[in-house]
Amino acid sequence: MHMSDGLINAPTSGVFWAIAVIGLAVSFYKARQDLTDRTAPMAGLVAAFVFAVQMINFPILPGASGHLLGGALVAILVGPWVGSICIALVLAVQALLFADGGLTALGTNIINMAFIGLFVSWGVAVALRRLAQRGGVGLAATAFLAAFIGVVGASLGFVLEYAIGGAGVTSLGTVFSLMVGLHALIGIGEGIITALTVGAVAAIRPDLVYLLRGAPQDLQLRGARQPEGSSS
């Protein structure tokens, strides 16, 4: 879902760049409280993992493919704030080192994948947190739904940007229905990959799954999760 330069006009791209920078500033501010000696290395590897899996385009229709966006994956594993930085980092590495996605377009790409898609997914995941905490199947179902809905959400980001700053060669209605239709199919793949990855991490190290840890204040209520009270 990486836009090249030139699809959205320069002023619109500039505005979305500015929003992306503000968003990332907020993410950095909020991410600090989620990053510890234990979770910081994990977060770096989660970003690297998303980079790797984004390389794997899977076929969805004859002549069309899709790849993981990773918003739900990172939000569930390391939280939405750290996760948005992970996705933005992946997009920056792809744009700067691999010429994948434009530079003027990097702002819109960050907004779509690191913010819109990710936070839609996070909203779904939080709404289903009780289901996710019930066990393996519940967590997998939560991950699948969060990923699926997030991908469709991210695709609407492009529709919005095209509506504001696109040249209008293709009608907005066509862009909307094609984007949503194709990304509903991609969302199934995203859902499967996300459910498998989150399920695997949860099976080995459930303590490293941010969604299961809950918000920091929740930890007090479920103190039984901590095997040792070394901090008190």
């Binding site: 990486h2 090249s4 330069d5 699809l7 600090r32 409280q33 990053l35 510890t36 000696d37 234990r38 979770t39 910081a40 290395p41 994990m42 977060a43 770096g44 590897l45 970003a47 690297a48 993992f49 980079f51 790797a52 899996v53 390389m55 794997i56 385009n57 899977f58 076929p59 969805i60 002549g63 069309a64 493919s65 790849h67 750290v82 930085i85 992970c86 792809q94 744009a95 080192l97 691999f98 010429a99 994948d100 996605g101 530079l103 695709s155 492009f158 095209y162 696109g166 040249a167 060669v169 293709t170 862009v175 984007m179 194709l182 990304h183 991609i186 080995i204 190290r205 070394s230 901090s231």
Partner: protein, 126 residues
Amino acid sequence: MTQPTTQQGKRQAVFLIGFLLVALLVAGVLSYLASSSPDGLDTVALEGCEVTETDAGEEELTGECIAKDAADSPVAGSPFADYGVGGNSSLVGLAGVVGVLVTALIGGGLFWLIRRRSGGSSDDSS
């Protein structure tokens, strides 16, 4: 408490190394299986155009579509452009490994720098 902490540290290291190896395997090996068809957004951008290959092996768009406005990336001449190495697209696995390591190093370093330091304790249950 030092004993379990050391053991936890070991478990943590094993997990992280395993995670990195999976990422390297995906980028280095599985990437050869990736579909080369345009992704969802590119498919929409190509709507209305036909892609034909010129004699020089370059792709040409005929018709009216969003992708006609697409500009080459300013870093299109980068050695790793389009996940090749020096223009050699058969080295996508190597490009992938480089990408994973660069992302892990920048990400890990960045997150380590801005992490919360709670009085030297490595426990995050506070």
